[in-house]
């Protein structure tokens, strides 16, 4: 189990070696958003559920951390709420793209690039749509 890699030999190409494009960006972002959901998303979900189970005061504290007095989002709410929503939709979009790639489909350069771009469009539009819907409703 010890580290047996010969330090004199080069590593295989890594992030810094590739030219950035939609295809490689969507790939590494899928991993990054997955890790963010697996840690940040899970902790937020656990806090929300545990606060609901603990009762009114605990839930009020949860709300207070992410919202201002009037009911809108504060900075923490924007980062954790809107940020994680985008992370979720991005991981969802690139995840669905991966299911097609698993079938051996969509490896032609143009289609691969276009679907990579489509995941970004989807995540941004879905995030804006979700929060505009909620904030519009909350503001009456």
């Amino acid at each position: 189990m010890a580290n047996v890699r010969n330090e004199k030999r080069p590593l295989s190409p890594h992030l810094t070696a590739y030219k950035w494009g939609p295809h490689m960006a969507v790939s590494i972002i899928h991993r990054a958003t997955g890790a963010a959901l697996g840690i940040g998303g899970v902790l937020l979900l656990l806090w929300w559920l545990a606060a609901l189970a603990a009762g009114g005061p605990a839930y009020a504290l949860f709300l207070d951390v992410f919202t201002v007095e009037a009911g809108g989002l504060n900075i923490a709410g924007w980062i954790a709420g809107v940020g994680l929503t985008w992370v979720l939709f991005q991981h969802m979009g690139s995840g669905v793209r991966h299911l097609f790639l698993d079938q051996g489909a969509n490896f032609e350069l143009k289609g691969n690039r276009n679907t990579a771009l489509a995941t970004f469009v989807f995540s941004v539009v879905a995030t804006i749509g979700f929060w505009v819907f909620i904030l519009e409703k909350s503001n009456g």
């Binding site: 189990m1 890790a35 656990l46 545990a50 609901l52 189970a53 009114g56 995840g95």
Partner: protein, 127 residues
């Protein structure tokens, strides 16, 4: 390895002894995550409010509590499988084992806490 067929080797005789099990479970939970997450996002958006009474009353309904528990199973298993691959890719020495054990504890204790919370709200029959 004997004289088994290629598919026979994949089904249990490879060095990992489990063939494509991890890969396939990751895809299965990806599919169930997609359905359950879309349900969750739409349900949240359609809630009339986000105060304690409204949200706990919603979660107390079997129509919310049951899919919510399924969502926890599906996403926590998917998270456990996905972060395992990340750890295996970036941790090369003995700390890999420590991280993998911590990941198992994190996934299991998190899922139990989440499901207990949902059941508590559901069985307390919030006001």
């Amino acid at each position: 390895m004997g004289n088994g067929t290629s598919i026979g080797k994949v089904r249990g005789l490879g060095s990992a002894k489990e063939g494509t099990h991890h890969w396939w479970q990751q895809r299965l939970t990806a599919g169930s995550n997609l359905v359950l997450m879309l349900w969750f996002v739409v349900s949240l958006a359609l809630l009339p409010g986000y105060d304690y009474a409204t949200v706990s009353q919603w979660l107390a309904s079997p129509w919310a509590a049951v899919p919510m528990i399924l969502l926890v199973f599906s996403t926590f298993y998917h998270m456990r499988l996905g972060l395992q691959v990340v750890i295996e890719d970036y941790q090369h020495d003995e700390t890999r084992i420590v991280f993998l054990i911590l990941l198992n504890f994190f996934a299991l204790s998190g899922a139990v806490l989440a499901i207990f919370s949902i059941l508590k709200v559901a069985f307390a029959g919030a006001a």
